[in-house]
Amino acid sequence: MPDELNAKGYDIPPEMQNTVAITTLDKLYNWGRRYSAWPMMFGLACCAIEMIATAASRFDLARFGMEIMRPSPRQADVMLVSGTVTKKMVPQIVRLYNQMPEPKYVVAMGACASGGGPFKEGYNVVSGIDKFLPVDVYIPGCPPTPQALLYGLMKLQEMMDKQSIKSVRWYQKGDLPEIPVPILGPDLIDPRDYPDFEFKLRQAYAEKTEEEAS
């Protein structure tokens, strides 16, 4: 039994240390989850290539129990957003996220996924996936090296360790809300903007005319 499983304060006789662990339910639960966090096989751009390199022999993601990448969101635990999120793609990403069963985590890999990166000013680029999805770990870099990705995933594991069955969102009463899927209009529309859309639109054009006047 790995030491990390034991709860503090219990003496286990040496001859039984290989077979018995005294632990808490939380610890056991998290221990199981942290070593089987399957990423979704999902590459967006350049960062995906480093993700593949991380999964391959030299860096070997399997050491962390994450070697099984699942193309289906139904079987995935971690969404590694590896690359530039474009407006044309983001409806699909949100839909994929909604399709993932809980518990689910989002890792923003690289500058683009974290905040738009070098392409931020582009007209088809979303300034970071956190505009739509709740991100758990951000990994800086363009692209992050495989070492950086591994470090980010270790941070994610640390985060899992700290969670408790009592308080995790997926064991609370009631349904978990889905994230509304953005719509491709004359530009990207986020349905969450509907309530004050008109106001903001007016504001945008008021500013513009002001600018032109000055």
């Binding site: 590459g43 350049c46 290539i49 491709l184 004359p186 903001k200």
Partner: protein
């Protein structure tokens, strides 16, 4: 090398005494053709003058002159320089006859020009948006179109670090993100132009045999494990046979060209890294070459830098092809094991890239007039070891494991055939073109750098199927190793960059088209300079993008499972396809 001097007395002018004039703007080349003579001109060019390969089609918005220009670069598939011709139309109503009937390879490129510049191509069979979605407001590459985060026309922006404070574009935007809408837009009333139109178009095909079978439309992607990124194919199936295939792209359209036209010349080099992100070194080269052409004799590349360029570009080719073979095997179902072999070698080459440039993938290594850094100590020996000892052995190993494998042969032979005539007509490039029996390699056909000094063969295969496209990549790796061996033996001492590195520079007004034989095919950069510190027009002729024009032809009649490997055998990278 273009025949600029010959333009004034070119036989084409005799053939077309009217409607064709030499382009006499300073720094420009080629001919200006009247829009109504374009199709006739292009047909003559192809049939009488031998310019059968239309490499690039793109538009330029000359806002101050109120003109839109469409620029065509045609080549002979037997080699030689470009013949450039242009059509100028008024900006308010830009309509140009489509050349798809003469050069089918113009298909996607014309759609792109329509999408991004709003130039309408009359007679185009399927003039829809290609990179942005239907319903998007405006044509973003027009010079008067402004993105949501627009600050100033040209970089470096004066607004950066005003008084040391950080300035974030989203704080300025009323929506807090990168969006802008027309003033009268009401989202509640908006019905998105969905995929129905796309699917309906595909369902039209009726079969008229007695068996009342129904055709099915199947959507693959953009999230699909075998599409090499965010690519999407919509296929119409009759049973398992592909009747029609429509590629849908733009899911990674990162506005490379718009950003590139705001950037200074130097700023664009790291952006080219991110085009075909598997082969950043050769992307650098294409762009640097175009700008060096504009600079003319203001700049000379030192000998050592020329060699380093060749060395890096050939290593890149090996990295790319080995990766392509790995992913192709993935697509064939040999999940990840061949990939692991491929990636092992790739890592060793990436170590070299990291040592010389500081980054594994995004090397940003080329500069105007040379390369950024010299080799650090120990790297030369490492390269020698790889090139003379390890790589040849490993490539033979890969060859031994895969080439005669029964499954590989059964799945690949005779699948996805592209005939040489079709390959040329569709403007296919690189391994796709050469696997169809056309020995066209820019390194030989229109040599650049110092490629004329090396001994190597242009790899060519003749069946035009997936198997040959696999084999040709092995052949090319071997040829690259040959070039590398010579280059490493001859590598001279000396400077690696011309003069001292400069941040900003004046590029004389004019146009230039630089092209290199990238691992995926002919990679071209069309740059127009207006004499300022930023390019007026910056266009990328992306081989991944244009090679896809032939995809549906290759897939028709094959099984749906084969469509996956046919796509794999073209070897696309989405960063370059969508830009």
């Amino acid at each position: 090398m273009t025949d600029t001097t010959l333009v004034a007395e070119h036989p084409l002018l005799e053939r077309f005494p009217e409607g064709v004039t030499p382009d006499e703007r300073k720094g420009y080349e080629g001919f200006i053709v009247a829009a109504d003579r374009l199709v006739e001109f292009a047909t003559a060019l192809r049939d009488e003058f031998g310019y059968d390969y239309l490499s690039s089609v793109t538009g330029v918005d000359y806002l101050p002159d109120g003109k839109m220009e469409v620029v065509y670069h045609a080549y002979k598939s037997t080699g030689g320089g470009a013949l450039v011709f242009k059509v100028q139309v008024p900006r308010e109503n830009p309509v140009v006859p489509s050349l798809v009937s003469v050069y089918p390879g113009a298909d996607f490129q014309e759609r792109e020009a329509w999408d991004l510049l709003g130039i309408r191509f009359e007679g185009h069979p399927n003039l829809k948006r290609i990179l942005m979605w239907e319903g998007f407001a405006g044509h973003p590459l027009r010079k008067d179109w402004k993105e949501a985060y627009f600050e100033e026309e040209k970089k470096p922006f004066g607004s950066r670090w005003p008084g040391g404070a950080v300035h974030r574009a989203e704080d300025e935007n009323p929506f807090g993100k990168n969006v802008v809408y027309p003033p009268d837009f009401d989202p509640e009333k908006w019905t998105p132009v969905g995929d129905e139109a796309l699917y309906a178009g595909l369902r039209e095909f009726k079969k008229d045999d007695d068996l009342k079978t129904e055709q099915v439309v199947v959507n693959l992607g953009p999230q699909h494990p075998s599409t090499h990124g965010v690519f999407r194919m919509v296929v119409t199936l009759d049973g398992e046979t592909v009747v029609r295939l429509e590629p849908v792209m733009g899911y990674l359209h990162r506005n490379h060209e718009k950003i590139g036209e705001r950037n200074t010349y130097l700023m664009n080099i790291p952006f080219t890294d991110r085009l075909d992100y598997l082969s950043s070194m050769s992307n650098n080269w294409g762009y640097v070459q175009a700008v060096e052409k504009l600079l003319g004799d203001k700049i000379q590349v030192p000998e050592r830098a020329e060699y380093l360029r060749v060395i890096m570009a050939e290593f890149t080719r090996i990295v790319n092809h080995i990766f392509a073979i790995g992913t192709l095997l993935n697509d064939l179902g040999a999940y990840f094991t061949p990939m692991l072999y491929a990636l092992e070698e790739r890592e060793l080459i990436l170590d070299i890239f990291e040592a010389v440039s500081g980054s594994r993938m995004m090397c940003n290594y080329f500069r105007f007039g040379g390369v950024a850094r010299d080799l650090p100590p120990g790297v030369y020996e490492k390269m020698r070891d790889l090139v003379f000892e390890r790589l040849p052995r490993k490539i033979d190993e890969l060859d031994r494991y895969l080439t005669e494998n029964e499954v590989v042969r059964a799945r690949c032979e005779g699948v996805g055939v592209l005939t040489p005539e079709e390959a040329i007509a569709f403007s296919a490039a690189g391994p796709v073109l050469r696997a169809s029996g056309v020995p066209y390699d820019v390194r030989r056909a229109d040599p650049y750098g110092i490629y004329d000094r090396f001994e190597f063969d242009v790899a060519v295969r003749y069946h035009g199927d997936v198997y040959d496209r696999y084999l040709i990549r092995l052949d090319e790796i071997r040829q690259s190793i040959r070039i590398l061996q010579q280059a490493l033996d001859q590598l001279p001492e000396g400077d690696v960059i011309f003069g001292s590195p400069k941040y900003s520079m004046r590029v004389p007004a004019g146009e230039a088209y630089g092209r290199v034989e990238g691992p995926k095919g002919e990679l071209g950069f069309y740059v127009v300079s207006d004499g300022s510190a930023n390019p007026w027009r910056y266009h990328v002729r992306a081989p991944s993008f244009i090679n896809l024009t032939a995809l549906s032809r290759m897939c028709e009649g094959d099984k749906v499972a084969d469509a996956i490997i046919i796509l794999g055998s073209i070897d696309i990278v989405l960063g370059e396809t969508d830009r």
